[in-house]
Amino acid sequence: MTSLNLSTGLKSTWCPGCFNFQILTGIKKSLLNQPDFRKEDYAIAAGIGCHGKIFDYLDLNGINALHGRVLPTMLGMKIGNPNLNIIGFSGDGDAYAEGMEHLIHAARYNSDIKYVVHNNQVFALTVGQPTPTTEIGYKDKTTPLGENIYPLNPIKLMLSAGASFVARVFADINQIEWVLSEALKHKGFAFVEILQPCIIFHPAKELKEKTYSLEQAGHDKTSFSDAMKKAEEFDYNMMMKIPIGIFYQKEREIFEDKFEQLRNLKDKKISWRDIKR
């Protein structure tokens, strides 16, 4: 571990006890444990929502982008400099509501970027409206009749869309540290969902105890059909058994390698500025 500290020193505005602290710490630990970690080799993007404040607390270059637009921004960042490691953060509203079209295409493109979705199954920063992964029956001020639309299963969606790395963990420092390291090792688009209770609007107290490890259950992450079966065990509606870990991982040609112009920047470790025309 280097002596670097990835904190900006800004005072946090997350609620005391918020699981975002676990996520932030897990991300930092994972990054600082990367071999030969240098800040300048990384850039981040975040959306808008409680998760997005991670941009203010994580001292790396990048952008706090628009709600729902983290993925195309990350893709652009990678194209602007394919030598950078790009990590993006979204909330469930950001990723699964406003930004859905980008999510499907990001899985298809398979750019070598790492995407972390903080899924607390609620729009927290706007004080508690349901998102596409909120369970049926959830009520808030704006849904007095109760949420009545069946939730989306993002794991199944990502598998069908062709994501080459699909994982889900609980918002726990060690799990996050582990999964980001695995995602960074993976060459291609990594989709990582973090199941996260919102202590104010969506406490989901039994969430953690329902989880079990895919790895310990002997899951074969190279099998697409096994991954699909495991993905169906938790439908984001009923609190049933929740498998966590890597559902699926299979490397295929990455987006950047399909373009000679980007391969050139990577091979020579140069940026667009260095191109003489």
Binding site: L10, N64, P72, T73, G76, M77, I79, G80, R273, I275
Partner: protein, 491 residues
Amino acid sequence: MKINILIAGHAGQGPNALSKVVGSMLVKWGYYVFISREYGSVIRGGQNFNTITISDEPVMSNESKTDIFVVLESEFKDIKKCGIVLIDEKKSNMYFAGRIIKLFGIDFSILEEELKNIKNLEENIISAKKGYDEEKIRIPLKKLKNNLSAMDGSTAIAKGAIKSGVDVYFAYPMTPSTGVLGELAQRQTENNHLVLELEGEIAVINAAIGSAITGAKSMVGTSGGGFDLMTESLSLAGQAEVPVVIYLAQRPGPATGIATGTGQADLNIALNAGHGEFSRLVVAPGDTTECQELTSQAFYFSQKYKIPAIIISDKHLAESIYSFSEKPIMTKSQKPTNIGRYNSYEHDESGAATEDVELIVKNVQERLKKHAAIGKDSLNFETVKVYGDKKSKNIVLFWGSTKGAVIDASKNINAKLLQPLYLEPFPKSLSNKIKKAKKVIIVENNSTSQLSELIAKKTGFIVSDKNKILKYDGRPFYSDELQAELRKRLK
């Protein structure tokens, strides 16, 4: 002298290829040409009309009358009364190329050279030769010494972007912006830039912002509806201070509107789109030379001031072929800055979000200062062009693609012609000139006269309704019809 050739045929019969070949030969023969095209939003079977205007002096528009009517499809034979009609339904497009050059007395070898640039060489040469041998009419054009080139507006914008050092161009296909996408895509390997089509205009603009912050000179292209989708991110580029060049090729709206028509109804959105208050540049080229020059200026301003810069064009400019002899004067722009911390929230110098009252006010004031600095810097450029009778007390105002028709219509007319190239920042010199005028006439391809609205807002000067010459049928102005309109108002 002026000769107008109208070529009518179905999409798929090659009226475009025919008009390009004829135009290119005439340019090599020393003649100025202007070629515009009208077509429907279909790939096969729609009605296509290409008009070629030929002149021994500069020409940048068509006339409504037709001198030579080339009919590729007999169902169109009655749409135009004309002295010379070339018709033979069984023949291919290049047969008519042969007939046309024989008619003008141009050597067949020039056509042979020209055909080498397109596919089906042998077949084309046989039919061209047949046409050449069969034509009996003669309107000989003697070879002129003019050294001319020709290109369409899309090619000119793409050339301008390449010369300005564009690294990445993102787009989602939409007529009439797609010409630039195609041209840049064709040239990406030789020039080592990258062209990408993403899942939609929202992805396009956000990817461009992403690539700009990590160090690529970035540009996007779109048309009205696509530009609407980009609007939120235009505001992001303003807040986060990210340099991005946006090519906006107008077509008539609202909504899907007339997909393959021309119009100038999106000036208001170019000037005003995006929530909040932030600086932008809006420039409006009116011919291919200006397309190149203003593209380089858009890159200059966007890179120097970290702002979105919009180049507003339209179908008529993008898809018409202009002939010219001058070389564009290009402006050098900075390379993108290295990555830092950018934020869509109001933020401090470190890039962290803030709600601090003093900082908010300071940031807003900084943005206002930047706006003033851009205005001042714009004075180093030609923001308004003046043509016509420069001593006249009458003014004819226009912007963008109406330039060709206005200039061609205003020969021997008692008026000074003013073309603002910059619409944001608004050129102050324009306001001084307008206020001194006896009569101000405005020519626009829209129904609400968006330029006069802008002038009223910026200067308080109201152009009287009877002096607005507006065309909103999805078609460009013809110079002869426009001349009659101008004369009526100058009486």
